[in-house]
């Protein structure tokens, strides 16, 4: 109780500390959303997929043909001088119908120096990829290990987050999150125990046009088997975009490693995996990308998968994109699935910029 009172007092002080003088809005200043309406956007992701596989491949194909991968409706606006709300609603296929659910819906503080508190439902800060929205994925789908350990939608929960911008000369951000612990893939304890996630991210400007982004993450909580689940990972990304001619060329090279332990789960108790990828912009609107990844169960090498993806992307503008992808997925018996995928990505409205 004492801790709670102390927290409330401290929070109120922090909330007000950054709000010394709220100026009257200059009537000449422009705004992209009017005072009464949030910035609104809609994104459509559509797919055409054709797969074929070896007769002994251990899964069946069920998603050939045309599909609506996801529709995302997003709203964002300042609530008042203290808070901002961002809301992304996702419409996606769910068996024989479409489901709509809050992909990320949260309020966050805006007036506290150095710190952002966030409350709502959002992608947990476990690794780099888990925080991406589907239409911002570097490739058509999430890495194999993310899907295997965290489920098709990633680790997304109702949570409270604190992200602190550490006062160092480089970008260092420490994120601490308390999750409801309801994710059925890794948590979902029988007594509704909370789960915890932490991430430390460092970004260095190696030169004016070359950055290194290094992150380490961890998660822990009770699971449905009344035991502990843990996850940990690191990610390393290099980005180069020259200061001169940067409209026409860029290179991103990265790797991400994730491992988990879901004690008590009979199958796939200790999954581990990694991916290495490169994305190269070779013309103003063209990118070519490749990713190689693998995932396995540390206890059972029969559950190994390896995948190679090659992708060509064309972006007519910053609001539309067409991507053609070829995937080769192999299981531990060297059975193969070859997939050809075409994705259309279209955005209307005032969509917030994606993270770097």
């Amino acid at each position: 109780m004492k801790n709670l009172l102390l927290f409330v007092c401290l929070f109120q002080a922090l909330l007000s500390s950054g709000l010394a003088e709220c100026q009257t809005q200059d009537p000449n200043q422009t705004k992209s959303a009017s005072l009464m309406n949030p910035a609104t956007s809609l994104n459509i992701l559509s797919l055409y997929k054709r797969s074929r596989q070896s007769s002994k491949f251990n899964e069946s194909i069920h998603d050939n043909g045309l599909s609506l991968q996801e529709v995302e409706l997003q709203f964002s606006a300042d609530v008042d001088p203290y808070f901002r709300v961002d809301a992304a609603l996702s419409v996606h296929p769910d068996e024989n119908h479409y489901a709509i659910e809050p992909e990320e819906v949260y309020a966050k503080t805006t007036s506290i120096p150095y710190i952002t508190f966030k409350l709502g439902r959002f992608h947990a800060a476990l690794g780099r990829h888990n925080e991406f929205h589907t239409h911002a994925f570097p490739f058509i789908d999430a890495p194999l290990i993310n899907q295997r350990l965290l489920g098709a939608d990633g680790l997304t929960e109702v949570a409270l987050s604190t992200a602190v911008l550490i006062p160092t000369p480089w970008f260092m951000e420490l994120t601490l999150q308390i999750l409801q612990g309801e994710s059925s893939d890794i948590f979902a304890s029988t007594d509704s125990s909370l789960a915890y996630v932490t991430r430390l991210r460092n970004l260095f400007d190696l030169t004016d046009d070359f950055t290194m982004d290094l992150g380490i993450s961890g998660a822990k909580g009770k699971n449905a088997y009344d035991q502990t689940s843990k996850a940990s990972g690191f990610d390393l990304t290099f980005k180069w975009r020259p200061n001169f001619g940067g409209k026409y060329t860029a290179l991103i090279v990265g790797t991400e490693f994730l491992q988990g332990e879901v004690l008590g789960r009979k199958n796939d108790e200790k999954p581990r995996g990694d991916s290495v990828y490169a994305q190269y912009q070779f013309a103003e609107r063209w990118w070519i990308e490749a990713r190689t990844e693998q995932t396995r169960n540390r206890e059972n090498s029969d559950e190994t998968q390896k995948k190679t993806s090659v992708l060509l992307a064309f972006f007519p503008s910053e609001f539309s994109g067409i991507r053609a992808d070829v995937d080769l997925l192999k299981d531990n018996n060297n059975q193969k699935r070859l997939s050809y995928i075409l994705q259309g990505n279209f955005t209307i409205g005032a969509h917030p910029a994606h993270s770097y």
């Binding site: 002080a13 422009t30 150095y114 420490l174 961890g218 940067g246 103003e284 910029a353």
Partner: protein
């Protein structure tokens, strides 16, 4: 063990940072960040040693499409003032930087945020409904006011007033220097006008509508741009129309902003041998030797004169 002490760690961090942010800093100069280097050059001239100034965008980069690097958030974290052109030029990246900086002083509407574009009588405001089918349009006006020396002189006064509000001890200095800068640009504009008039260059094609204010100031028509629509790369069909126009109207010059590829312009000049093409900086620092706003305009006048 770490998760067991999670709550205590959080409280320790909050208390430490509250102490850190409320601890007074003594003797620190005003920290100003601008979105483009031209504004930084003006602030630098007004402030001398009393201001630390930096620009997010460099003179070689397209300010429409800067990536919001987290390192920019680190710079913005301790900024006292952010100055933007506005008119949606920086809409794709500046809000992310400001939010990520966790610096409430520089948020929109706060005393540490200044948008000068709307205060400088922007032109090419949209009449009627607009949509992205028209390309990358700026409905509240063309944002590239930094290329009009008269407007930049006026901008210096607006910036000086804001600096004076934040740093009252030097407010007179800022105002005096702004008036000097404004007067200097006004006088130089007359000289630049004389030089441009002598060239008899009356029409120029550009890649994008970056140079609109410069052309308008010096009475130069801009009958075509190489982009079929703003923000859309040149197409073969559109270049054919541009070539026909250049031949019909005997347009002598194409100016290509330095962050665009000159390839499309070269195709036009190959088809119209009487035209010349010049790649021009459109921001301070866009080329070696362009260190001030005066240098930038001088470079553009040199380009029209054929000295580049």
């Amino acid at each position: 063990m770490f998760f067991y002490h999670f709550k205590n760690c959080s409280l320790i961090i909050y208390a430490s940072l509250l102490t850190l942010v409320t601890y007074p800093s003594f003797g620190s100069s005003l920290k100003v960040l601008t979105t483009i280097p031209d504004l930084a050059a003006i602030v630098s001239e007004l402030g001398d040693s009393s201001i630390e100034v930096d620009s997010f965008c460099k003179g070689t980069q397209d300010p429409h499409y800067l990536e919001a690097k987290p390192s920019y958030m680190v710079k913005a974290r301790s900024a006292d003032l952010v100055i933007a052109l506005g008119l949606d030029l920086e809409i794709g990246w500046l809000p992310s930087i400001i939010q990520g900086s966790r610096n409430p002083e520089i948020r929109l509407g706060q005393k540490g945020y200044l948008e000068i574009g709307p205060q400088l009588s922007p032109i090419e405001k949209a009449n009627g409904p607009v949509s992205r089918a028209q390309g990358d349009v700026h409905p509240n006006g063309n944002p590239h006011l930094n290329l009009d020396p008269i407007r930049m002189g006026d901008a210096a006064l607006i910036i000086a007033k804001k600096l004076g509000e934040l740093d009252t001890a030097h407010s007179e200095q800022y105002k005096t220097k702004a008036l000097v800068l404004q007067k200097r640009l006004q006088e130089k504009t007359k000289l630049w006008q004389e030089r441009i008039t002598k060239t008899q260059v009356k029409k120029v094609i550009s890649f994008h509508k970056t140079l609109t204010y410069f052309f308008a100031r010096f009475g130069i028509e801009n009958p075509a741009i190489l982009e079929p629509l703003p923000g859309i790369p040149p197409t073969a069909a559109h270049l054919i129309e541009v070539i026909d126009l250049a031949k019909t109207q005997k347009i002598p010059l194409i100016m290509v902003e330095n962050f665009f590829s000159p390839d499309a312009a070269k195709r036009v000049t190959a088809a119209v041998p009487t035209m010349r093409m010049v790649i021009v900086p459109v921001g301070v620092g866009g080329e070696d030797g362009i260190k001030t706003i005066d240098d930038l305009y001088e470079s553009l006048v040199n380009a029209i004169e054929g000295k580049k």
